[in-house]
Amino acid sequence: MASNPYFSLAVLFVAALGFGLAPLGLAKLWGMVFSPPKPNAIKNSIYECGLESKGDAWMQFRSAYYLYAIIFLIFDVEAVFLLPFAVAFTGLGVAACVSMLVFVLLLIEGLAWAWAKGVLTWA
């Protein structure tokens, strides 16, 4: 088992997980032992500049905002794809660069069309 090639990867993974979760566990422990949670109605109420909030925020809003959010989402996802490419960028050939360029340009062309259609302006 010790000589399994993936063993070092498993140790690193467990260490990373521990490094991530340990502070949360410590905080939970601290909360239970030392500072108990004391929720109450006023503390949990919605903060609205010191007043009681009337009405609720779930309401119909303009469709332009929805389109704006969707376009942002597309570029957010595109950035996720760019990440591994950027990491391994030095080791790749010209073909990989061109294909990634095509991918990026396709999306920018979509953005240009949306901009031309006036989706981004809602004044």
Partner: protein
């Protein structure tokens, strides 16, 4: 852990501390005040954060607009009866451990406007106040000195046992009721748990 031993060890490069000291040191070195200016003292508070007096040296120049992310409420200015419910609600909405500095005569006792019909005679009628700064308005250095007083007070808090602060002890009062604006005055006119009736009522006849 007597001091002498700690200093000796410090000389050898070994630093010894307790969880309590570390906990208090961590909290007092980065108290984030809430952006909460009411009147003239607010201008002196802003002047304290500006270049000349530079509150950043005390880790407190981040003024958080929302009560959720603030540890300290500096009540800088006159708390009127129309504003009092909002102040108490904001205090309740702040996350524990939270502190209050009553800056200026108006926040402590209504100050020069004490005879006004719409002025609350001091915010400690509804919420517990940690440090009072007299002055109208107190100089920026007085506000920095009040910060140091508050930091000493936090250093002195212990984690367990009798003297532990309010947020570490389950039975302590967590909710401070918000006064209601009635027909003639705020009802109730003060929160007895926070504002003890002084030993003598101080009215001289």
């Amino acid at each position: 852990m007597e001091e002498g031993l700690k200093i000796e060890l410090g000389k050898q490069g070994v630093f010894v501390t307790t969880i309590e000291e570390l906990y208090n040191w961590g909290r007092r070195s980065s108290i984030w005040p809430m952006q909460f200016g009411l009147a003239c003292c607010a201008i002196e508070m802003i002047a304290t954060t500006m270049a000349r007096y530079d509150l950043a040296r005390f880790g407190a120049e981040v003024f958080r607009p929302s009560p959720r992310q603030a540890d300290l409420m500096i009540i800088s200015g006159t708390v009127t009866k129309k504003m009092a419910p909002q102040v108490v609600r904001l205090y309740n909405q702040m996350a524990e451990p939270k502190y209050v500095i009553a800056m200026g005569a108006c926040a402590i006792s209504g100050g020069p406007f004490k005879q006004g019909y719409n002025v609350l005679k001091g915010i400690d009628r509804y919420i517990p106040v940690d440090v009072h700064i007299p002055g109208c308005p107190p100089r920026p250095e007085a506000l920095i000195q009040a910060f140091m007083t508050l930091q000493k007070k936090i250093d002195g808090q212990n984690l367990t046992g009798e003297g532990r602060p309010r947020h570490l002890d389950a039975e302590a009062q967590g909710e401070f009721p918000v006064p209601v604006q009635g027909e003639h005055d705020l009802e109730p006119s003060s929160n007895r748990l926070v504002w003890p009736l002084p030993m003598k009522t101080g009215i001289r006849d």
